[in-house]
């Protein structure tokens, strides 16, 4: 598998570390909603098809990437910096 890092270019998967499901939302730090925390920490939907997930380019620029990957074909449709995605998600919330 080859991941096109926005900073480093197309790189082999051995340079990356899988960092998990990027679809879950972390509750507000002070939240005491047990169910929400439990879902965030443990629940994964394991879908077939398109999935968004975090990959750390540990052997390259050490940025976390938000990768959209079809888990049945491994075809990658989008790669962006996770930081940028998180920032725009937060500004979306505020708007």
């Amino acid at each position: 598998m080859i991941i096109k890092c926005p900073y480093c270019g197309p790189r082999d998967v051995i340079e990356f570390i899988y960092q998990g499901d990027a679809t879950r939302t972390r509750p507000e730090p002070a939240s005491d909603d047990r169910a929400a925390w439990n879902a965030y920490v443990y629940d994964r939907t394991n879908p077939s098809g398109s999935h968004s997930e975090y990959w750390l380019h540990s052997g390259g620029c050490r940025q976390h990437l938000l990768v959209t990957r079809d888990v049945s074909t491994h075809a990658i449709s989008s790669v962006v910096f996770a930081r940028d995605a998180a920032v725009s998600a937060k500004s979306g919330e505020l708007a």
Binding site: M1, I2, P29, V41, R62, H64, H74, A75, F81, A82
Partner: protein
């Protein structure tokens, strides 16, 4: 069967001879021969014994699809088993041996296995594993009893035990277009791509380009197609943007258009050029792949189809045209399609005598009839072969009337003398790589074969791999598949008009069962085995494959896949596409592990050494590996045991002063306006309140509330912290911080840098440690006011800038002295010199461990991924004023359960050592299984207490204090009475480190 060399023909060099041995006998062949063609030319037709039944087998195919004719190749002491004779190029001095026979190929004792046929039928291994339900051999014990006999009787070649002396290489290659195969399709596709300027790699598994053109009876531009192919290949290889790899088998297709291949660089040569590897492993990353992998002819299954002399029709043709070898004197052909007539034409042109063509179809075209009559072959339409007669090789076949519509055999059997029967059951596109890439293949009713799936990556198939079975359409397809912009002028092809679609006949089942009819030759799976599997309930192809082992041998079912599916579909009364097919997996052909490993063998781990490593070695340190790091265990004195050494070192720390290398601790530089806020969220305790110039011990949890790592973090400036982590977790903590900074809190302005290797660290501990510093540090005071507990100062030692923090892991008055890594030894030696008047003692990890066990400080042995802060009595570090990672989850009832294991100390009651990993039990007698209620995490002899002590995680830990128990370790034969005590075993008030 009397095979022999023809007087002319073949791409062999008849002017030279090559000497080799097979089963101890010397033979000769010519350069260009494979072992199979050379042995056939010498009249050898018996090549080996079969897997289960030890039946005599000959060569069946002429390429990488060969199931039968496998040999072991010997090079000195090294043996390589299961080498396909049809691919093995002979060279002077080649030593080969047939396989799976005892004591010799001609006289094989295990051939009696044939009489025990039912015993070895489908599912034999599964049934045997179950064993009888009762008795001494019940269950798998029966298997264990039988195994050594069965292992000897069944199997392929034996693996060697000698180390492989050969060298292998690895290559990474990048290209715009990778073309797999260099038959007519591959050559034209490569040319089309290369003329557009693309970077092209062509991989051909055989020694020469040409594929089907090498054994074709057609003409291209009026010339021999093999010559046309050779010139085309040479022209391509000369292009600067083309890399042409021969003897290179592409064996794997992975995601992202990454393909793997093995190039046989020199293993076909008698003497290797100095420095040449035996094989080279390629990982090719390509923009686009053109799969021009050709097609495999498949057999028709009929009784007695496995004796030497029965081969694929195309193999008979290839031996004649490519190698100038007649596989028999009187060749007969048995077919359900037109391609056998093309073979007959080519064979008779090459001077091979074709006496009869048996065709299951009731009618054939005029072209076919003409070919048969020109070749002088009797044409038997609506007939099928229903049996063979053979001793060690074929002497005659039985044919009967056959109705292709009903599949019924009828009429009187007729005997036809023949020593070689070429069989053609149609052609299956070689879709292996396309299937590996992931798609489900499509059944084509016309070709009665699976076509490649829809591409799911940037690849195309072309030529016969894509279902084009005549040269003209192959070439025009290849030109467009090679490049959409192709303007190639295609050559003129002269070929007979033949129809590629076979009659849907896969098996001939005679009315009276006589001989076994084999589907998978390499695993000895018969048509009846498939029917038996069905009767026993194994209906899906996946179950069928595993139960019968069909297609699971080293040839991966190249010849058996479609016939096996057809028989299964037939018993189930469904069509072949309904039965479905299994997905092909890498490797396409067997790959040696040496080639995959390349130069990567032996100890591949990096060795991490601290800046003071050489000093340690020069001062009699015994080191061991802690993760990747090499760290001093003890500094040995002559005649001392390890225990004596660490006891001496630890005692020196408590009595005067010791020094230990702590450079391995993980160190992360954290900077930014929000650095303090970031740490407040990461750590369970507060860091924003930490004054500049002070350090604080911190604890991190995972999101699920379990303890993760601990260490001290130093505030160097308002917006700068230096975090230290445990040695083992340095990498994972960095990753953890980066994840939260990148993905969760991108709004925090903080920057993380790993500085582990930037700093050298020396810890000096003991009542005299301050005196040592006072003697060598300039530029700062180090007294209790200037440098209080957890204080940080900057100064110089021996002219080197240092940063000193007063903190203690040993429980003594102690300091960590950090300097630039390049000056580590200089500062270390300066500290030693200053400590000389106090008999400063360098100490290793064993003494470090002893000191912390005495104090009850935790490390990775206790922060083991299962314990909570509460279990480790670190509740006092859990801030109630702020949320932090894990804070929402620590309150869960499972994490507060009273039955959880918690940290205690143990003291040995019989003055014997306690071993790490011992279980805590109440039973005074060692037994198995014991009712364990805890385990020992770390143990040592404590010089401070004069006793053997340990730390343990014990159920109801705190309330068990004062009780007695036993630390039991049945593996080491230990059962030690212990008293459970508080984990603070030495100086619980901490008066010494505050002193």
């Amino acid at each position: 069967m009397t095979s022999s060399r023809l007087s002319k023909g073949g791409r062999i060099d008849r002017s030279k001879s090559v000497r080799f041995t097979f089963d101890g006998k010397a033979y000769s062949g010519h350069p260009g021969d494979t072992l199979a063609s050379a042995l056939l030319a010498n009249g050898i037709t018996l090549f080996g014994r079969s897997f289960k039944y030890h039946r005599p087998r000959g060569v069946f195919a002429a390429g990488s699809d060969e199931p039968n004719a496998l040999v072991t190749v010997f090079t000195g002491d090294v043996r390589e088993p299961n080498v396909r004779t049809t691919e093995l190029e002979i060279y002077d001095g080649l030593v080969t041996q047939s396989q799976n026979r005892f004591p010799s190929l001609e006289h094989d004792w295990m051939a009696v296995n044939q009489l025990a046929g039912p015993l070895f039928s489908a599912g034999f291994y599964y049934k045997t594993f179950m064993g009888p339900a009762i008795g001494p051999l019940r269950g798998t014990r029966f298997w264990m009893f039988c195994e050594k006999f069965i292992r000897r009787a069944a199997g392929l070649g034996k693996a060697g035990t000698a180390a492989d002396p050969d060298r292998y290489e690895r290559m990474n290659a990048f290209c715009d277009v990778l073309v797999v195969g260099s038959g007519p399709a591959g050559l034209i596709a490569a040319e089309a791509a290369a003329t557009t300027g693309a970077r092209v790699i062509i991989a051909e598994e055989r020694p020469v380009a040409g594929g089907s053109l090498l054994a074709s009876g057609e003409l291209i531009d009026g010339r021999n197609p093999a010559v046309w192919a050779r010139e085309k290949a040479a022209a391509l290889a000369n292009m600067p943007n083309v890399r042409f790899l021969t003897r290179t088998s592409v064996w794997g297709y992975y995601d992202g258009n990454v393909l793997t291949a093995v190039e046989h660089v020199s293993d076909y040569k008698p003497n290797r050029t100095k420095g040449q590897p035996r094989q080279r492993h390629w990982v090719v990353r390509t923009g686009r792949t053109v799969l021009a992998t050709g097609a495999f002819e498949r057999p028709i299954v009929f009784p007695g189809n496995d004796c030497p002399g029965v081969m694929l029709a195309d193999a008979v043709r290839r031996f004649a045209i490519e190698y100038g070898v007649a596989a028999g004197n009187n060749v007969t052909l048995f077919t359900n399609n037109d391609s056998a007539y093309d073979a007959a034409r080519a064979l008779s042109q090459a001077g091979v005598n074709v006496t009869a063509i048996i065709d299951v179809r009731s009618d054939v075209s005029g072209t076919c009839r003409d070919i048969a009559s020109v070749a002088g072959a009797e044409l038997l339409l609506a007939h099928a072969v229903t049996g063979t007669h053979a001793g060690k090789t074929l002497s005659s076949i039985t044919v009967q009337h056959f109705n292709a519509e009903t599949g019924r055999v009828s009429g009187a059997p007729r005997e036809i003398k023949t020593d070689c029967l070429g069989v053609s059951g149609g052609w299956s596109p070689a879709i292996h790589l396309a299937s590996q890439a992931g798609g489900k293949p499509d059944w084509d009713e016309d070709l009665q074969a699976f076509l490649p799936p829809e591409p799911n990556q940037n690849w195309v198939t072309t030529g016969s791999a894509a279902g084009y079975m005549d040269t003209i359409s192959v070439l025009s397809d290849a030109a467009t598949k090679g490049s959409a912009k192709s303007r190639l002028v295609l050559p003129h092809v002269e070929a007979p008009m033949l129809d590629a679609s076979p009659a849907p006949v896969f098996e001939i089942e005679p009315s009276i069962k006589s001989q076994k009819a084999f589907v998978d030759f390499q695993h000895d799976v018969t048509a009846d085995d498939i029917r038996l599997a069905y009767r026993e309930g194994f209906h899906s192809v996946e179950h069928l494959k595993r139960y019968t082992t069909l297609g699971m041998a080293t040839d991966q079912g190249k010849t058996s896949n479609v016939p096996g599916l057809a028989i299964m579909a037939d018993v189930r009364g469904i069509t072949i596409p309904q039965a479905g097919t299994t997905r092909f997996r890498p490797p396409f052909t067997p790959v040696s592990l040496g080639a995959i490993a390349g130069e990567r063998y032996g100890d591949l781990r990096p060795h991490r050494l601290t800046p003071m490593h050489d000093w340690h070695l020069a001062n009699s340190a015994r080191t061991y590996e802690a993760g990747l790091w090499h760290r001093p265990m003890i500094y040995g004195s002559h005649g001392e045991t390890v225990e004596q050494a660490y006891t001496r070192e630890a005692r020196a720390v408590r009595q005067s002063v010791g020094i230990v290398d702590v450079s391995t601790l993980g160190k992360i530089d954290i900077q930014g306006p929000d650095a303090a806020e970031f740490l407040d969220r990461i750590y369970t305790n507060m860091f924003s309140t930490l004054p500049v110039g002070k350090a604080r011990y911190g604890l991190m949890l995972r999101e699920d509330g379990i303890a993760f790592d601990d260490g001290t973090t130093w505030r160097l400036a308002e917006t700068q912290f230096l975090m230290t982590t445990t040695t083992a977790n340095a990498g994972t903590v960095m990753q953890h911080l980066e994840f939260f900074s990148d993905c969760i809190w991108p709004d925090l302005r903080v920057h993380l840098t790993s500085v582990t290797d930037v700093w050298a660290g020396s810890a000096i501990s003991g009542p005299k440690s301050r005196a040592v510093l006072e003697a060598c540090v300039i530029g700062t005071k180090v007294d209790n006011v200037a440098l209080p507990f957890m204080g940080i100062v900057h100064g110089k030692i021996d002219g080197i800038p240092v940063m000193i923090c007063r903190l203690s892991f040993s429980g003594e008055l102690a300091y960590e002295v950090y300097c630039g890594a390049g000056f580590g030894t200089k500062v270390w030696e300066a500290l030693l010199a200053a400590g000389n008047p106090f008999d400063i003692m360098p100490y290793g990890l064993e003494a470090l461990g002893t000191l912390r066990i005495e104090k009850g400080h935790v490390t990775g042995a206790e922060i083991d991924g299962r314990t909570t802060a509460h279990d480790l009595h670190l509740d006092w570090m859990l801030s109630k004023k702020k949320p932090y990672i894990g804070s929402a989850m620590i309150g869960r009832e499972g994490l507060k359960d009273e039955n959880r294991l918690s940290l205690v100390g143990l003291i040995s009651m019989d003055n014997q050592s306690i071993t790490g990993g011992s279980h805590i039990v109440t039973d005074p007698v060692p037994r198995e299984p014991a009712d364990s209620f805890g385990h020992v995490t770390a143990a040592c002899y404590s010089p401070a207490l004069g006793k053997y002590i340990a730390l343990a995680l014990v159920k109801h830990g705190t309330s068990m204090i004062g009780n007695r128990a036993f630390a039991t370790d049945l593996l080491r034969d230990k059962h030690c009475p212990v008293e459970i005590v508080s984990h603070h075993m030495f100086d619980p008030e901490g008066s010494r480190m505050h002193g």
